[in-house]
């Protein structure tokens, strides 16, 4: 262990009182309002699904585990949503809401109670989402995309080892319904798209958007999608509605295409390093079609 590592480790052993004092010093010291850092927090919703039995291989040093070690599946799972509450989780998607033109126009982070009161999203959280979730996860927020009063899309972020999620999803849905997955993100997002008449079109899990190769798609009814092979530059041009720039210095652009042709709504999502907005439809088409996972 070198000096820096030793010192870094040692700082994790400092007394509790020093840590809590530093946390609480925010805004209280020297008569000035402090800002912890510039990381913006926005309202989101927290939906918590607690695995019935999921044990962690712990050490006396909490959190000091690799992703691979931090979760150990005991084999018994259940999914219930007991709590949704406002949170400060900065869901990236709502930081740049669509402002004009086509596509969804409202991004919501409702509570469970609010969800239940939405007539056009009947029983979404208690019924729809758990039905399609791989079993046994902590579910830490839900985003909804609304187009007017119409529900378009719901995403929920899960907390678990990425490989655990994928493995269980494959068990549940069959590996032939998944595309290639790479990466080592420890949480993934899980989303459901459905038609405006309420029919489920697509369910997907999406990991880190680093390389644009990490989306897995479970197609409930592929025939109702614009199939990958049907995608054309023209469709992209007509349907490209938004380009979300959420951290260009680190991750490039997350680009989302909503293909809305009236009878169906399909959401393709991928990320690029660089300025996706500047790409032409042909270039975007080339990028999308170069992703092997999209072809499955």
């Amino acid at each position: 262990m070198n000096k820096n590592t030793l010192f870094s480790e040692a700082m994790s052993y400092i007394d509790d009182s020093l840590i809590t004092e530093s946390v609480r010093a925010d805004g209280q010291q020297n008569g000035k309002r402090g800002v912890f850092i510039s990381l913006a927090a926005s309202a989101a919703a927290v939906a918590v699904i607690i695995p019935v039995a999921m044990t962690a291989a712990r050490t006396a040093f909490p959190g000091g585990l690799s992703d691979a070690d931090s979760l150990s599946d005991t084999g018994t799972h259940g999914v219930t949503i007991d709590e949704v509450s406002p949170a400060t989780d900065p869901g990236f998607i709502d930081t740049d809401p669509p402002s004009e033109g086509k596509g969804p126009d409202v991004y919501l982070h409702p509570t469970v109670e609010e969800l239940r009161e939405m007539d056009n999203i009947p029983d979404l959280v208690p019924d729809l989402v758990p039905n399609y979730l791989p079993d046994g996860y902590v579910f830490n927020y839900v985003d909804l995309l609304m187009d007017g009063d119409d529900f378009l899309f719901c995403k929920a972020r899960l907390i678990d080892n990425r490989n655990n999620i994928i493995e269980r999803a494959e068990e549940k849905y069959g590996s032939d319904r998944f595309a290639a997955v790479s990466g080592n993100s420890s949480s993934i997002e899980f989303g459901i798209s459905r038609k405006r008449d309420g029919e489920v079109l697509e369910i997907y899990a999406d990991g880190s958007p680093f390389a644009g190769t990490e989306t897995i798609v479970i197609r409930e009814d592929y025939s109702q999608h614009i199939g990958f092979n049907e995608l054309t530059p023209e469709i992209i041009e007509e349907s490209r509605t938004e380009c979300f720039d959420y951290d260009p210095t680190m991750r490039g652009y997350l680009y989302e295409v909503f293909l809305d042709a009236g009878e169906y709504t399909v959401r393709y999502r991928y990320s690029l390093c660089g300025d996706a907005e500047a790409l032409s439809a042909e270039e975007l088409y080339s990028v999308i079609t170069s992703c092997e996972y999209m072809k499955k």
């Binding site: 820096n4 010093a25 850092i37 990381l39 959190g63």
Partner: protein, 187 residues
């Protein structure tokens, strides 16, 4: 929500506590992770992992301070993730960025761990920091526990940069003297 209530809810397996923790500590914990990872989404993931760790570890763990336990968990996960990410790149330890100056006051030798464990050093550092004025103490912890940049410390504590630098210099020098006096430091 105060620590005692959080711990009670965790012990009662009340799932709503996770939302409460997120409300109370989400921003601070994500900021802490972001200080190490410089990536908001990774930082969010670290916080999510920390929530799961906390849920699974309390009980049986019964920390004296839940806030410290949570922040320590977030820090450990963020550090582990950073090291995983950079191991292949061989870009060096993150702490080399923030803790270059540790070279000057941490015990040397071929293998310092032989003479001083991290826990022991943590204990020495704690004792030393408790002897400092509150401001110096917080500057040190913000810098070396939270891995905050000086400008962020300035915003958080409302101090000038010069004062922060002077405070860190004094604290490091003082720690080195303490380590020397207690027989840990050798060059």
């Amino acid at each position: 929500m105060d620590d005692r209530t959080v711990l009670r809810m965790l012990n009662e397996r009340d799932e709503s506590v996770l939302g409460e923790i997120r409300k109370t500590h989400g921003r601070g914990c994500i900021s802490l992770a972001n200080n190490y990872l410089n990536d908001r989404r990774d930082a969010e993931e670290v916080f999510s992992d920390a929530l799961l760790t906390v849920w699974n570890s309390i009980p049986p763990d019964s920390p004296g301070s839940f806030t410290a336990y949570l922040y320590r968990t977030v820090r450990n996960i963020a550090l582990a993730r950073y090291r995983d990410m950079h191991r292949q790149k061989r870009e060096g330890d993150l702490t080399a960025v923030a803790l270059d100056d540790a070279e000057g006051f941490i015990p040397g030798g071929v293998d310092p761990v032989e003479s001083l464990t991290a826990a022991e050093l943590g204990s020495v550092i704690s004792a030393y920091l408790k002897s400092l004025p509150e401001t110096d103490r917080n500057v040190f912890v913000c810098r070396y526990f939270h891995n905050m940049q000086l400008n962020d410390i300035k915003k958080k504590l409302g101090l000038g940069l010069r004062k922060i630098r002077n405070s860190l210099t004094r604290s490091r020098e003082g720690l080195r003297e303490k380590l020397k006096k207690e027989g840990y430091y050798y060059e």
